[in-house]
């Protein structure tokens, strides 16, 4: 790489990308470097870490805005309602502290690994992504942004600027559970993000997402439907049917686990997350 751009201003960054569509974005570089087979990055890059508009988490009239270059560490330290707890739990398990200090939420989404831990959490927060290019801005639901393994809807010259969580989805309590071959520094075999809103002892709304068990992490609508309206008692977890979990997913066999194991793990993790949430039901209240 002979060239590295480090603009401070988003419009400057978008102008560079408009003129030079081969220039690749680089944020925390924690996916870029390990994926580079050569001893150094190849080609021209644009470093996003100096762009103010991409940094930090803020409240907006509509909900919350998470800048694309927000690091995992910043997410852990942010003052956020309990609905975001799953995102913090995921953040605390991304790699190691040094990776959390450098890696960004936007990089996690744009890298679009099926095992990206941020994706199920943000799906369960009904996140929308804000994309910008020199032509203008657009919003997309996260589920439409990641289109396949390592594939996104980013067009030429386009950057992910922020992730937006609507106020309606910032309600309830949440839990993230990840299964790996060991406890730390591990690529997920399966991970689940569950958010429950409990009103008057019943589940008013439920968001359940599973990652690493399909080409792109998914919401499990049938599982959510089986939870809504039910009493928030320890019996709730039994409403998570293995068949509903399996129907939504299409795991692969790989070195980490076979498909059958992944499905079973996903169902167990969803039940565990649900029962942990109802045990602390007070926190699930809207």
């Amino acid at each position: 790489m002979q060239e590295l751009f480090r603009p401070r201003d988003l419009s400057e960054a978008l102008a560079i990308l408009a003129a030079r569509s081969e220039v690749r974005p680089a944020a925390g570089c924690t996916d870029l470097f390990p994926a580079t087979a050569a001893p150094a990055l190849q080609g021209a890059h644009i470093d996003l870490t100096a762009l103010e508009e991409l940094s930090g988490i803020s409240r907006t009239p509509e909900g919350f805005r998470v800048g694309a270059a927000t690091t995992w560490r910043e997410a852990i330290e942010a003052d956020l309602p309990p609905a975001f707890e799953m995102l913090k739990e995921a953040a605390r398990e991304v790699g190691s502290p040094q990776i959390q200090n450098a890696g960004t939420i936007g990089g996690n989404l744009c890298n679009a690994s099926p095992a990206a831990d941020g994706v199920p959490c943000l799906l369960a927060l009904d996140a929308q992504v804000e994309l910008a290019s020199a032509e203008g801005r657009r919003m997309l639901p996260l589920g439409k942004f990641i289109t396949g393994p390592r594939q996104t809807a980013l067009g030429p010259g386009e950057l992910l600027v922020a992730v937006h969580v609507p106020g309606e989805a910032a309600r309830g309590a949440s839990r993230f559970l990840k299964l790996g071959a060991r406890r730390y520094l591990v690529i997920s075999i399966a991970m689940v993000a569950v958010r429950l809103v409990v009103e008057e002892g019943r589940v008013a709304s439920a968001a359940v997402a599973v990652g690493a068990c399909s080409p792109v992490a998914r919401r499990l609508e049938a599982v959510e439907a089986a939870l809504v309206g039910a009493e928030a008692t320890p019996a709730l977890a039994a409403r998570v049917r293995a068949a509903d979990v399996a129907a939504a997913l299409s795991p692969i066999d790989d070195v980490r686990a076979d498909a059958g194991y992944r499905l079973e793990a996903a169902a167990v993790l969803v039940r565990r997350a649900v029962s942990e949430l109802v045990t602390h039901a007070g926190e699930c209240a809207a």
Binding site: M1, H45, D47, G95, S96, Q98, L185
Partner: protein, 160 residues
Amino acid sequence: MAQVSMTVNGKPVTGEVEGRTLLVDFLRNGLGLTGTHVGCDTSQCGACVVHVDGRAVKSCTMLALEAEGAEVKTIEGMANPDGSLSVIQQAFQDHHGLQCGFCTPGMVMSAAALLAENPKPTEAEIRHYLDGNLCRCTGYHNIVKAILAASGQDVSIAAE
């Protein structure tokens, strides 16, 4: 080539780097600070951990130009001003927290970051925090003991 300026161990430094130059290469080859090691070059092992603006990062996973204007601290900046070992370094020596020493600069920098945010960590918290630092010699036990000792805690609480 581009110019980069930062503060390293309290001293302002400036150098010429290529866009692709890693922070660790700038420290080692540009500044001759070879205490920061490269073990894996794939962000796994933690031998290259330094502090950038007070936060522990893997310097093999950061471009030198991304540290423009930053305060960088390396293992060379850890000893006391009179040259004696810092409390953490002394504890590594006293508790045999190293054998070949290759991982040690990164271990010390991670330990310092941990103790800055959590001055009295439990044994489990120490082990968790070191998940990004690999050691092939010690089996970690004496490293954990050294960090407990450096935090002023009784090392006998670490399970033998």
